[in-house]
């Protein structure tokens, strides 16, 4: 073994990264769900991104998302609706995909720092929700919006308007992700890493 990090990645970490990548992909393969408020059906793929961070923690969560990006680039149809390929990255929505990586990291970090220690059921749920919202929505959009603006030449304001369109769905997903992570933590706790 070479000396690299303080705590080298174990085989189990690697397996968890690959399996959560598979969960993110599988959630994107499910038929989109319609939510009353929004005219377009939303897919559950970004739910998987939030879950990767909230359940696995920052490093492994970001790893799972990086793996999805890698598979996309390798030409596999892993994004919702069976999309994939190199063209996704330089496209207007490429930044959202790349933003998943820091997004899952921040979600995981916040969960590790605050949510795990939260005492009561409500505080735990609220802390998980906040973590999913900050990481899975704010951070992802913080990468996605400037990317859209850069690739299309539109102003930041207009690009942000497009993002706002998806914010309702993503907020609902953050709530679901928080509830799932909270339940999972109670019945099968693993240490976030």
């Amino acid at each position: 073994m070479t000396v690299r990090t303080r705590r080298p990645m174990s085989t189990q970490d690697l397996v968890l990264i690959a399996l959560f990548c598979a969960v993110i992909v599988a959630l994107g393969l499910l038929p989109p769900v319609s939510i009353a408020v929004i005219p377009v059906p939303v897919t559950l793929q970004t739910l998987g991104v939030m879950l990767a961070g909230a359940v696995l923690g920052p490093v492994r969560g970001a790893g799972a998302c990086a793996l999805v990006v890698l598979l996309t680039v390798l030409g596999l149809p892993v994004l919702s609706g069976g999309r994939g390929g190199l063209g996704v990255i330089p496209g207007p929505t490429g930044g959202y995909l790349l933003g998943w990586i820091p997004g899952a990291f921040v979600t995981g970090w916040l969960v590790k720092r605050f949510a795990v220690r939260a005492g009561g059921r409500l505080t735990s749920l609220a802390a998980h929700f906040a973590a999913c919202l900050v990481g899975g929505l704010l951070v992802v959009y913080a990468v996605g919006v400037p990317w859209t603006s850069m690739t299309t030449g539109l102003g930041i304001g207009k690009a942000a308007l497009g993002a706002a369109y998806f914010a309702i769905g993503d907020t609902l997903k953050a709530a679901v992700a928080a509830a799932v992570a909270h339940h999972v933590r109670r019945s099968y706790p693993i240490e976030p890493r």
Partner: protein
């Protein structure tokens, strides 16, 4: 379930080595942002379209890959046209068309294994510098490909079970059991990988173990 977008064929693009295709694609991605001239971008977009047609991909495959991006493209062009100028909208639209079509052409004509090969070559210097563990990345990719169909199948089993119990449509009832199953099986999968001598012996000290004969290395 088909896990690759690759379309078998013998077109010129199929025969170009993957590394070259990726290099040209990268250059192309930079080049389109260096000009705002429609007389350059227009023919280039036409060329990209011809390139895609030489691949001879099935129509439904093309439609599936293009439908989503074309909606986004239409929206972007519309906004640019309304807020800036027709010329700006045209430039933005042509750039995106070029990127989309060339990238799709490469994706459709390159096997995943070839791209994995390019990835390995690109990771090699990073691996030597100790920044990335290339065998681990390669294993993660393979594991994901192995378990995507498995996880998807588990998803459907859970969904059927929940439907039978009248829990249809509750995302919690669907996702919580799935995540727990995944966490459980991760332990077994990791043990199975370790049992088959992962991680591989590093070539730098080829199989240290073999040269020590029967003595504990302390």
């Amino acid at each position: 379930m088909r896990m690759s977008l690759y379309v078998p064929g013998t077109s010129p693009l199929h025969r170009v080595p993957a590394g070259w295709k990726l290099a040209v694609l990268l250059l192309c991605g930079v080049a389109v942002f260096l000009t705002r001239s429609v007389t350059l971008l227009g023919p280039a977009a036409g060329l990209a379209l011809v390139l895609l047609l030489t691949v001879r991909a099935p129509r439904e495959q093309l439609a599936r890959q293009l439908r989503g991006p074309l909606w986004v493209l239409a929206a972007v062009v519309a906004v640019a046209a309304l807020s800036e100028s027709g010329h700006a909208a045209l430039v933005v639209g042509l750039r995106l068309v070029i990127l989309l079509l060339t990238a799709l052409s490469v994706t459709l004509t390159t096997r995943t294994s070839e791209l994995q090969g390019v990835l390995e070559v690109m990771l090699r210097p990073l691996d030597r510098a100790g920044l990335v563990n290339a065998p681990a990345v390669a294993l993660a990719v393979s594991l994901a490909l192995r378990f995507i169909p498995e996880v998807f199948q588990q998803f459907q089993e859970i969904r059927e079970a929940q439907a039978a119990r009248g829990l249809r449509g509750s995302p919690l009832a669907l996702v919580v059991p799935l995540v727990i199953r995944v966490l459980r099986s991760a332990e077994d999968i990791a043990a199975a990988i370790d049992a088959r001598c992962y991680p591989p012996a590093r070539s730098r000290h080829p199989d240290r173990d073999d040269r020590l004969s029967g003595k504990a290395p302390g």
